[in-house]
Symmetry: C2
Subunit: 408 residues, 2 copies
């Protein structure tokens, strides 16, 4: 008898976005005339910018010639990209290219990073939250079974609601690992420098490790909001940061991201010995990963050039304009809306009594608009709905036209 990992059976039946895709497909089969506008899954729609396309073509041509061909690359990623990242995003923050690990995207890195910790570690996540943080810890046996609300009994939940302005309070019970994502998916909230400093101080005092998901950093528009957790003094000893090219440069289909793991962040081994997480993550990646494709690392490098930055900023500005329209559209219906200013996500509060899957079905079936039900992100997401600015401008405008006068 080959026993399976029974923790998998504690998971909800399907991954949130797979369930959404299923319902959208079913709707399409029932009503093939009405084109569904997808503002649900956070997938980008703008084609890759010219700098990226040109870097890809050039790298492909290198792979066609004996003298330019590259086989296995360094598992940690090529130095040219790790150096470009530090130059462009971590200047003056004490981060070294050796701390940077190139990967296939933030989903992969965030899903796998928990592996280097003990199974007994206590994990804190915000609620609502990106499902990967919870699900990967459920699989690892850190969460136990879920209650009737879908809340895993072994996790610490940090509610983020209108009551606390979507900024979580410090936990009452000490966790080992804390997942924070700012700008936030799904609420679109951000943390001020003081907010984030409180978390760094707490982690230092309580000997916790923060997994800081900064995948939406490029959407920050207001001044004074930290773009990296390493802007906070002392974070280099307690925080690992994850970033992605997906939403920054349209890489959802190309797959590239990175983790920053300063060698000063350490966990406890047997006898309480301090062990640098960087060494463990390097061992994990060299053993189970063979590096992000060379041609894609060259594409990522292109986004750090002045021209590449100009092009990606223009695309992001378009998505931000979409988010603004969505905010206004739902506000016009009299609903309370947050996010969409420093984040591509708009978080809509539904009228009391409306559940979020019900609203999902209504919006899909009556208007042909696919969003994401808030409860898919956790129990505190119930009564909310997420929309993204990642559609095309034309689709977003049409969706807001369809929304006009919608009788909820």
């Amino acid at each position: 008898m080959s026993r399976i990992n029974a923790h998998y059976l504690d998971l909800p039946g399907s991954y949130l976005f797979a369930e959404i895709a299923r319902r959208v497909q079913e709707h399409g089969a029932r009503d093939p005339q009405k084109r569904v506008i997808r503002l649900g899954i956070g997938d980008v729609t703008a084609p890759l910018p010219p700098s990226v396309i040109s870097a890809l073509h050039q790298a492909v041509d290198e792979q066609a010639r004996q003298e330019g061909f590259r086989g296995y690359g360094p598992e940690q990623g090529y130095a040219f990209l790790r150096e470009a990242i530090v130059r462009d995003a971590y200047q003056g923050l004490g981060i070294d290219p050796d701390d940077v690990f190139i990967g296939d995207g933030a989903k992969e890195d965030l899903g796998n990073f928990q592996e280097i910790f003990d199974q007994g570690c206590l994990v804190a996540i915000t609620d609502p939250v990106y499902p990967v943080y919870a699900d990967s810890n459920v699989m690892a046996g850190r969460a136990g079974p879920a209650d009737s609300l879908g809340r895993f009994q072994g996790l610490i939940y940090l509610p983020c609601t209108a009551d606390n302005n979507f900024r979580p309070d410090l936990p009452r019970r000490r966790p080992d690992l804390i997942y924070l994502c700012y700008p936030n998916n799904p609420t679109g909230a951000v943390l001020s420098r003081d907010d984030l400093a409180r978390w760094v101080g707490y982690a230092r005092e309580q000997d916790c490790v923060i997994f800081y998901d900064a995948a939406y950093e490029a959407y920050i528009t207001e001044p004074g909001i930290p773009r990296s957790i390493y802007e906070i003094p002392g974070a280099r000893e307690v925080a690992v940061e994850f970033r992605s090219y997906s939403k920054t440069a349209g890489f959802t289909g190309l797959r590239c991201g990175f983790a920053v793991v300063p060698s000063s962040v350490r966990g406890r081994g047997p006898g309480n010995a301090l062990v640098p997480l960087r060494d463990l993550w390097l061992r994990r990646q060299t053993t189970k990963y063979n590096g992000c494709p060379y041609i894609i690392q060259r594409a990522a490098e292109a986004t750090h050039t002045p021209q590449g930055k100009k092009e990606t900023r223009a695309i992001i500005a378009g998505y931000q304009e979409n988010a603004r329209r969505i905010r206004e559209g739902f506000q016009t219906l009299g609903l309370t809306v947050s996010g969409g200013v420093n984040a591509p996500y708009v978080w809509v509060r539904l009228p009391t009594g409306l559940d979020s899957w019900g609203f999902f079905d209504a919006l899909l079936n009556r208007l042909g608009i696919a969003g994401t039900p808030g409860v898919g992100f956790g129990p505190s997401g119930e009564g909310h709905f997420r929309l993204t600015g990642f559609g095309t401008s034309a689709d977003t405008q049409e969706a807001m036209e369809r929304l006009k006068g919608f009788n909820i």
Copy 2:
């Protein structure tokens, strides 16, 4: 105190090929004049074939246009590639495109697949063996500490030596999971249909799951040797198969492979309920993976066209010719050599008393040839040395020139 996964501390200090790279680099610093010929790590050297290059350019151009742009793909891989694989490699073997999962390579899939099993599963590996099988299970806590020979006390080792013609005997104690790799890395041995049928029969009788690594299938030259484990009746209930485009089509730097997980292969859940592994692997992949890049899946598809197959076959023939030269070169020194006929690897038996790291250093420092010490693949690899046919033809010929008259 955030406790780390202490099982990592049971691992050898560094991944085998990272250690080899370190010694080669050190040698280069000491003796910059002598160019090192690398016949150690199994990395290909021929540039990507024209069909693959052309598919890449075309897919990149699609990504540049609004109407052709593709963001997130299906986590399991695009249907066009899964269908091409079944048509090309599994015709008549009862494999459905739904059973195929596209991934970033066999290393990743083989490293991650054990996650869906219970931590208590007993694992059998051949010895010598590709290090990822052992190391990923060490990390998962299935192996315990190693003895003085580097043998993990919790694993079942199946010695493959000249005494059994490099074909492992059935285990004396029943394992839950069995890793088999044929054509074999590192010994270059193959299993006949009868040999493989014996393993499938054992797994069926004992309720085991076989992880069948067929990454080198394209190197089989002799008739009658099974290319897929599914050629054996009954394998569809007990075996998962892993393949890669790395050695078949030069994708070591592009990263693409696939796992075949028929829904009829099942493990045991609570109460001995049978659970299809396919469901668990789908959940794993949808949660922690976002799919292989679209452009790379198009490149992989190109290798299944008649022209793509013609091109890749020519490249493989070149590597096979290299392997033949290496065999002859070492045989001329009076050494016993196996492999290199149905596999790109040549396995050299060292004269009694010579240890494999010592031979590695001698070959590197005296001739400037980097191979792989047999002991790096496990205790039974001691006294052996692996060389690969993946160098360029010119390099391989020069290496064999340097080898002439080598005084071991």
